[in-house]
């Protein structure tokens, strides 16, 4: 019985993963990830990590993915440039890298001398993955990481608010249509030779015509 559940869940995981990277619309990618997350929760349950599975569904698939959905809706999906990939060579190289990594991981994990992975796992008590057990750990052995993690969450929240903050109030709104700019435009406000290496090397074509100088020796 557990085999069947395992295979279905595994299939769901993999399908979701492939969907994330293959689907063109970011919105559909988010949805594929949700499928993946839920299947992963099932796998967790099979491994008797019930609490983690629950947390996965509630926190990850529930909160984080909803956040994603918000942002994707805000930004828009298909009319974004960059929908097309890097081209055949790039894709091939990327999959070669990933494939190499996969092979290596397989060798590392499965080819290692760990005999225990050939078993179903050590004998565990009934309340192995219970919230009770995890909670006890959080409050005794892993108290410090627990507290630090909560601090990290605080930082992230403050950071997110700061990043997305509007400068100058509601008037400088995003309503007026403006031409597409590039990052360089924003960096040009600085005095010269305080910018990037690109600027500093004095490539004439990257500078405005009035300040082109002969190339540095």
């Amino acid at each position: 019985m557990s085999y069947v559940v395992f295979f279905i869940a595994a299939l769901g995981t993999l399908t979701g993963a492939i969907g994330v990277i293959a689907l063109k619309d970011p919105f559909y990618s988010v949805l594929a990830l949700v499928v993946h997350l839920v299947s992963l929760a099932v796998l967790f349950m099979l491994l008797q990590a019930e609490f983690v599975a629950a947390a996965q569904v509630v926190v990850y698939a529930g909160a984080v993915m909803v956040l994603y959905v918000f942002v994707v809706s805000y930004i828009g999906g298909q009319n974004l440039p960059g929908a097309q990939g890097p081209g055949r060579a790039g894709t091939l190289a990327a999959f070669a890298c990933a494939g190499a990594l996969l092979v290596e991981l397989f060798i590392a994990v499965l080819g290692s001398g760990l005999k225990a992975i050939g078993t179903g796992g050590a004998h565990v008590a009934a309340g192995f993955g219970n919230p009770e057990a995890i909670g006890a750990f959080f409050l005794t052995k892993f108290l410090a990481p627990f507290e630090i993690a909560s601090y990290l969450l605080l930082l992230a929240a403050v950071g997110a608010v700061t990043l997305a903050r509007r400068r100058g109030g509601l008037e400088s709104g995003i309503e007026e249509p403006a031409p597409r700019l590039s990052v360089a435009e924003f960096m040009r406000g600085r005095p010269y030779y305080t910018g990037t290496q690109h600027e500093t090397l004095g490539r004439p074509e990257s500078l405005p015509p009035s300040r082109v100088k002969e190339p540095a020796k």
Binding site: P86, A93, A94, C97, A98, A100, L101, E104, L105, I107, A108, S112, Q197, K217
Partner: protein, 669 residues
């Protein structure tokens, strides 16, 4: 007070004078700088006399005293201190140097008055006297080389004293460069000697020399030849002589002191001092003697054709030093030094007279324009005549005894030295000729305009615009150029005292070396040359024949000069027109300057141009610097290409790196 203490005080006085004048040159009023300088040298001379007296109080065997003030270097290889050597030779030299310098300082007190650089002049002059005294008192090679270099520096400073004159500064540089060549020879010669003796101390070297050097061995010969190079450069012998005529750009007292009486005699002193080494290298001695002989003849011929009065006297100096070098190289040490002393007297006197003459001419130095100054400058004429008679070797003047002493001793060596003997007398004839050419042209004949002005009005001629006598450039009388005053001896008591003293010495100075009667100088210098293997004693015949021959030649050359330049005016031009090539050779100073230009200066300039234009541009800048920077830039470009700016590319690199690390650990386990 011992002799060595007095000797140190001899050095201390001009040092104090130099410092006082150098530090206070802006605040010393009027001529006080001159009096301070003169006083310093007078004190030095007084202590020189004290040293002489104290030394003579010791027995002859003990008259070689060394004194070290402090240790400069005490290492395993070199042991050198600030050492002076007080023996008859050095005492003789300090008396002559300090005495003549004192008189020249006195002369300069009046001669240079009104010059903006008056105090600077005396500071330099005191510095020169200090250096020369250090040179002759040196007790080891280190002090000798230091003194040698210092006199070269002082010579440069004084030749270019009127530094806004380009002719003076180029002359100073020429003198310095040739002197440096001599310095190199001196130092290299010292190395060759040091290699075997392992000591810099002079006394020790001379004791060890016969033991470590076989007579005529290559090292000692090479060392002595190199020392000769130094001597020739300093004493203006051929081929390193071209600086001396140009050095006449300096003020006349400088010419008198440095380029007649003292600095140019440093070479003679060197050979005399190093005589134990030279006697182990007969080949070097021969080189010295031959070069001395050649110089005295060549310089004598040029003196017949030169037009600038100071240059005539300069070539005369060159010629007379040829005598001295010939003498000390052939082993006639006391005779050579005797001639050094008498030459100092009469040559300084001649220069002083020339200075007065030039002042009367308003700064003009050309013999072509001088004539008939006899009545205008009676005192100058008298002193000049005394000096000329001494130079030509007329008895009983001092030059007669000293010159014939050298030639008699050279003749007594026999063999090929008879050639040098003959050259010496030919040179004596030339000497009489060119000396009295000067006298007759400048003082006899119709008085020139300047002389007429002086006779009629009693005031010396004053040009409207000061000009450089060498090239006629107009100048002013501010600092760096001569001052506006032209002081003649008849008007200045200090000058008269100095010239009078020297005239007296030129007249009676020979008394210390009258052959067969008084041999005071020989006896005085004997302890210094006791270790000489050569003992020249000319036979009585040789001496008397030499004296007679010298007198005859001198008188006949003066008579010939009278005929050519006084009795039959125009005869000189006729003779010159009959042998134009010879005349051109003499006027162009035997083309030595052109020879050195072609052999040394042009290749050096070409090499400099080549080094800068080709070598430096192509090799150093292009290949070395350009190449290394190009390599670095290429490398940077390669590395820079990894920064593409693409995030995904960076991620790929991270993944690859991660994989590599994992692979490493996999393989390890």
């Amino acid at each position: 007070m011992s002799a060595t203490t007095a000797a140190w005080l001899v050095l201390a006085a001009p040092l104090a004078g130099t410092l006082a004048l150098a530090l206070g040159f802006k605040v010393l009023p009027g001529r006080s700088a001159g009096w301070i300088g003169t006083a310093a040298i007078a004190v030095s001379f007084a202590f020189a006399v004290v040293t002489f007296v104290k030394l003579q109080a010791l027995s002859p065997a003990h008259r070689e005293l060394s004194s070290t003030l402090w240790n400069i270097a005490k290492t395993s290889g070199v042991d050198a201190g600030a050492t002076i050597l007080v023996d008859p030779l050095s005492v003789f030299m300090i008396c002559v140097v300090a005495g003549v310098s004192m008189l020249i300082h006195l002369y300069s007190v009046s001669y240079l008055q009104g010059d903006e650089g008056y105090a600077r002049f005396f500071a330099y002059l005191n510095y020169f006297v200090l250096s020369m005294l250090l040179l002759v008192l040196a007790g080891n090679f280190l002090a000798l080389i230091v003194g040698w270099a210092f006199v070269g520096a002082a010579s440069y400073l004084l030749i270019s004293f009127w530094y806004r004159r380009t002719t003076a500064t180029t002359a100073g540089i020429k003198a310095f460069v040739i002197n440096v060549l001599g310095d190199v020879g001196l130092v290299l010669g010292t190395f060759f000697i040091f290699r075997h003796t392992h000591t810099l101390d002079l006394v020790t070297t001379f004791h060890l020399a016969p033991k470590v050097f076989a007579s005529g061995s290559a090292d000692v010969t090479a060392g002595c030849v190199l020392l000769l190079v130094g001597a020739f450069a300093k004493s203006a012998q051929i081929p390193l002589h071209t600086w001396l005529p140009d050095a006449m750009e300096g003020p006349t007292p400088v010419s008198a002191l440095i380029h007649a009486a003292t600095m140019v005699t440093a070479g003679v002193y060197l050979i005399a001092r190093m005589h134990p080494l030279f006697q182990l290298a007969p080949a070097a001695e021969d080189v010295g003697a031959v070069v001395g002989a050649v110089t005295l003849l060549v310089a004598g011929t040029i003196g017949l054709a030169a037009v600038d009065i100071k240059r005539v006297i300069a070539y005369s100096t060159m010629s007379q030093i040829g005598y001295m070098i010939m003498g000390v190289s052939a082993g006639a040490y006391a005779a050579g030094l005797f001639h050094l002393m008498t030459h100092a007297f009469f040559k300084a006197l001649l220069f002083m007279g020339a200075g007065s003459l030039i002042a009367a001419m308003g700064g003009d130095q050309s013999l072509d324009r001088m004539s008939g100054m006899r009545k205008a400058l009676p005192f100058t004429f008298a002193c000049f005549l005394v000096g000329s008679l001494a130079l030509s070797g007329i008895p009983p003047f001092s030059g007669f005894f000293s010159k014939d002493d050298i030639l008699a001793q050279i003749g007594s060596r026999g063999g090929w030295y008879w050639g040098l003997y003959a050259a010496g007398y030919v040179g004596a004839a030339l000497t009489g000729l060119y000396t009295f050419r000067m006298v007759f042209r400048a003082f006899f004949g119709e008085p020139c305009a300047e002389a007429r002005e002086l006779i009629d009005t009693g005031h010396p001629f004053h040009p409207d615009q000061p000009t450089n006598p060498a090239n006629g450039e107009v100048e002013d009388t501010d600092v760096g150029f001569p001052g506006p005053e032209h002081v003649i001896a008849e008007r200045a008591t200090p000058m008269q005292i100095a010239m009078g003293a020297l005239a007296l010495l030129a007249l009676v100075g020979g008394v210390v070396g009258i052959p067969k009667t008084t041999s005071w100088l020989d006896k005085f210098l004997a302890p210094s040359f006791a270790n000489s293997t050569l003992h020249l004693s000319p036979s009585n015949t040789l001496i008397y024949v030499g004296l007679a021959l010298g007198t005859v030649i001198a008188i006949s050359s003066i008579a010939a000069a009278w005929i050519v330049w006084v009795a039959q005016p125009g005869m000189a031009q006729d003779i010159a027109a009959r042998v134009p090539a010879v005349y051109r050779l003499f006027v162009n100073k035997w083309y030595f300057d052109e020879l050195i230009d072609a052999l040394v200066v042009r290749p050096a300039a070409w090499f400099g141009r080549f080094a800068q234009g080709t070598f430096e541009r192509v090799f150093v800048t292009g290949t070395l610097i350009g190449g290394s920077t190009a390599i670095v830039r290429a490398g940077s470009a390669i590395v820079r290409s990894a920064e593409s700016g693409f995030v995904r590319y960076y991620v790929a690199l991270v993944v690859i790196g991660l994989g590599a690390v994992g692979l490493y650990f996999l393989i390890q386990s």
